[in-house]
Amino acid sequence: MGIRILKGGMMTTVQDLGRTGYQSQGFSVAGVMDVRSFKIANLLLDNPENEAVLEFTLIGPTLEFTSATIIAITGGDFQPQVNGEPVPMYTALYMNKGDILKFGSARTGSRGYIAFSSYLEIPVVMGSRCTNMKSSIGGFKGRKLQAGDYMNFRIKRRYLPFFLSRKLEPENFDQDSAEIRVVMGPQDDLFSKQGIETFLNQEYTVTSDFDRMGCRLEGPFIAPKETSDIISDGIAFGSVQVPSHGKPIILLSDRQTTGGYAKIATVASVDIPKVVQRKTDHKLRFRAITVQEAQNLYLKEIKELDAMRTIIHQPCKEVLDCRLVAKRLMKLFE
């Protein structure tokens, strides 16, 4: 009882918040690219914060449900349809046995997420269910999904209280340009004053070299003082590395644990979703903020997510209206 993949889409993988605690041994964290959309998908279903979801990229998958469950779709707009009818995103959706959920290509954003109330049955490897494709571990057989793959659910969970209230305003990924806030460092001191000014004042363009490992940007040359080669050190999620060609690369979920190029800045956690939802030819501008500001933004976002939880846990007003309920019930008997 679970889901069958009819079409894999471009790049659909099982992901959660990643495999942390093993980076000292050379394991990439992997995990979802857009943590915010991921958290909202699970939140809509009262799932545990780190429950595994499907992440898809640019072209979404098609799946068949072999048992009933409740799902939530978040992230970019991949024009989801159930049995050929459009369905809303950022809403708890009841799926019946036999339903076909189909996604198109990303109209806005570039990554989408599906959470399941019945939880995907995926073995936990080293503390996580996420797919690490480079090491071929975790997720579904350590690889992206393809037609014919079948995943069971771990539990039967087909009822959620306040079902009709479980909808949120979809996030807007429609902009062609975005301001990305960064915390300077750790190696900003290796760049010239001119180089830093260029980085913070010029516009950069997302190239097609953009995958789960990183996002290469095209734009004005960022000059190092002497060299941007360093003795290899650890890389954080959102590190902005500038090799000697002077063009920034933002390192993302599947980044290597260590690297030998200077990192001019690190994207603020709350702005990483903005980066990963870009498409080729979209524009980015960087703005420096302090580490305290970045942490405050992060804590504010946690509160914002808590507030969403309150919204979806309200009794639905429509249900309190007797006439409306009567009308709806009537329909069932027509």
Binding site: T20, S24, V291
Partner: protein, 242 residues
């Protein structure tokens, strides 16, 4: 150790730079710092990446703020690290050198102007410090390869190097933990699984440990391999005073 710098790496990571060179002393200081952090169990630390001369610490700002962790780490790196450097662990890695197991050993010997036997003797006669792990799960960056054995990488990298291959690439030597493309000169194979995702500790070694290569013949290699495949082979580990 005057020049320890604590640098910001975003809102959820700190980078501690212990120096700007590759040296066993700096590496020991890093290992000692990690040991101290484990003993003190700093709430909110989620992951650490030790490298040649730095340590990246990932933390959860919901649990510990930038100021708090910075202060804790400042106090911690000031602690004299000698306590952590009394013993070292040495892992014995059996290697079947040459022949079909090490197709490039003749290249290494020719480049060094030595016989294959001498290459094996030199390669297996010292302990290599594991400076860091990275690139692939369990891939060890080892220090201390004898200069005579430094050999340029293959001009034409192989598409697939089998897990367990022991090779030399430039001034480095190491073991491939899993099948991977690569350009290193292959000199032998170990039957030991340095990486096994089904094992409780998937990676055998840690940064700060040492590796000693021990030559074995083919019969011994096959015997160990059979045990290793059953998950019954235990690597010999020595503990020595530093």
């Amino acid at each position: 150790m005057q020049n320890i710098r604590i640098l910001t790496a975003g809102d959820s990571s700190l980078l501690i730079e212990f120096g700007k060179e590759i040296s066993p002393e700096i590496n020991r200081k890093i290992a000692a710092t990690i040991q101290l952090m484990k003993e003190q169990h700093i709430e909110g630390v989620v992951d650490m990446i030790p490298a040649f001369c730095s340590l990246l610490i990932n933390y959860d700002p919901r649990v510990i703020s930038y100021e708090e962790i910075r202060e804790r780490m400042q106090a911690l790196v000031r602690v004299d690290a000698r306590a952590g450097e009394t013993r070292k662990r040495i892992f014995e890695i059996p290697v079947c050198y040459g022949g079909g197991y090490g197709p490039d050993i003749a290249n290494i010997a020719e480049h060094a102007g030595l016989s294959e036997e001498e290459v094996i003797r030199i390669h297996s006669s010292r302990d290599y410090l594991i400076y860091m792990l990275g690139f692939l799960p369990g891939f060890t960056y080892l220090g201390g390869l004898d200069e005579r054995l430094h050999t340029p990488r293959l001009a034409n990298p192989r598409i697939r190097i089998p897990a367990g291959s022991v090779g030399i690439g430039g001034s480095q030597t190491g073991i491939y933990p899993l099948d991977s493309p690569g350009g290193w000169q292959l000199m032998g194979m170990t039957p030991v699984k340095t990486y096994d995702p089904s094992r409780e500790t998937p990676i055998l070694v840690e940064a700060g440990d040492y590796i000693r290569f021990v030559p074995v013949d083919e019969a011994e290699y096959l015997r160990i391999k059979e045990a290793a495949d059953r998950g019954e082979y235990q690597c010999k580990v020595h503990e020595e005073e530093v």
